[in-house]
């Protein structure tokens, strides 16, 4: 347990007792994460914000069911996952492509990816740690590009300009980042894979 954890643990107890300031802390901590996760499946940033808001409201309304600090993240992501699945299944995700078959295939793949994610409390804490560690271990330039892209939602061209490199270099950094992350996570993902994957 580090300091952060004991600080959050206090907040968690206050949250359980209905303290809104404590809730706001968790709201701020998780809002962007849920949005950033969901948008990968529903492709509409505003919709994804609505979804994140809904998830957090749901958390507040069900606070008595959340049993531990780590349970908050599991609760929120489980909600986001099932919400995304519902939206996809009920055809509420906007068509991205002119070709309807592509839209359909994309939804099928997304359903598969979502179904393969299990947000158990224990697992999530471990996963969060592995991801943070992996990102921080990326080579500096690659890390910078990755963060600008993934967390600041910048376009390749913007990143290229900011970092004074070519567009190709940005793409190469991203490809590299993704490859490294995939390798680092692969042990972990592979294990989930055997459990879930069957197609």
């Amino acid at each position: 347990m580090n300091q952060n954890n004991s600080f959050e643990l206090d907040l968690f107890h206050s949250f359980k007792e209905g303290d809104e300031t404590a809730y706001t802390f968790f709201y701020d901590k998780y809002f962007r994460r849920i949005q950033s996760f969901s948008v990968q499946f529903i492709y509409d940033p505003d919709e994804a914000e609505n979804l994140a808001q809904e998830a957090l409201l749901h958390l507040w309304q069900n606070k008595e069911n959340v049993e531990s600090l780590n349970g908050i993240q599991a609760f929120l992501f489980t909600y986001a996952k099932s919400k995304c699945l519902n939206l996809i299944r009920h055809n509420k995700v906007k068509d991205k492509f002119k070709n309807d078959l592509l839209n359909h295939k994309e939804r099928e793949l997304d359903i598969e990816v979502l179904n393969s994610l299990q947000f158990d409390t224990l697992e999530l804490t471990e996963l969060e740690r592995i991801i943070q560690e992996s990102i921080s271990e990326l080579p500096p330039k690659t890390r910078e590009v990755f963060i600008k892209k993934r967390f600041e939602n910048k376009k390749n061209a913007e990143i290229a300009e900011e970092m004074e490199v070519t567009l190709k270099a940005v793409e190469a950094h991203m490809t590299k980042a993704l490859k490294i992350l995939k390798t680092k996570l692969s042990d972990y993902l592979f294990l989930i894979f055997i459990l879930i994957y069957n197609n």
Binding site: K29, F37, Q40, I131, T175, K182, L185
Partner: protein
Amino acid sequence: MTSEIIYKYLSNEASEQEVQQLFEWIEASEENKKQFISLKKTWALTALSGTISREVPVVALQPKNKIRTYFKYAAILVVLFGLGKLAFYFNERTAVSKEVVLELGDGRLEFFTEKNLNTLVNDKGELVARKFPDQIVYFGKVQDEDVLYNTLKIPYGKTFKLKLSDGTLVSLNSGTTLRYPEQFGINGNRNVYLTGEAFFEVAKDKQHPFIVHSDQVEIEVLGTRFNVSAYPEDKTVSSVLVEGSIKMSEKENPLNTVLLKPSQMAIWQNQSKKITTKNVDTSFYEAWTQGELAFNNTPFSTITKIIERTYDVEIINENAVLAKQNFTGSIKISESSVENILDLLKRDTPFNYSIEQKTITIKPIFHN
């Protein structure tokens, strides 16, 4: 080349043409699809880390090895049903179509061929499913009184995938029949009826328990992944739980019930009507869904049955020594022919065999 397109796709900057190209690549092989899915997963999961400061690396403190042990306990449930109706089954088998056949609620029959990709409409003309050459995807819900059942029959030598209207994913093994609601009702249990072997990934829904029925036993789940094998020629029903929890009960006598823990196998005996449990390595019971045959100290008689279903052949074993032999190992179905497998087994325990059309006769070595 491809990895750049994947990255472009993930960051939403790929053109429609590039996406088309990417999806073609994904469909080209299972391996590609796996790769893509794990990349997309990685990409989506990076959201978990929140915004990380670009300048200061976060230092990790904990040891690395915890995940593996944790995942050992996660689990999949595998169930094998057996119903001793051998003679009946084999008579029926000769009459069965070599195509996957879908029987609709109103008795219409649909055949699946390579080229027939279309949609499925119910008796009211509403779209209920999309059909693909090796897969059907259902959607929607209906009032309970409107629940209609479809029946899907998979011949020997083929496998098939099905997505039920609640989102449950079902892989069907060779020689299997599954009866299931075209659309699940709004209330009540989710009931399906199985003969043969299927792997279920049940969509979580605590209000509506998912129940797999076989002749004498039923298995109730609230949302987990498990395999059910209910081939009529087997005399047992066994179930292996990898994750979550399931309950196996005798239909006639619901008090005869067992609650399974992960990595446990429950075995139902048709004759004694008893359910016993033991610990197993679950990976052997899910291998078929990945296109593999896996044997763990498996008797040759069981292996021949599996080969018969998988490759749609008939095996006559005249080798008494071999019949008592057990084998361990795994084989990729797509990369192996029946001959490959037999040759592999032969290396362990020598025997002769001859193939005449679809009948394989196995003989002792001294017979020639």
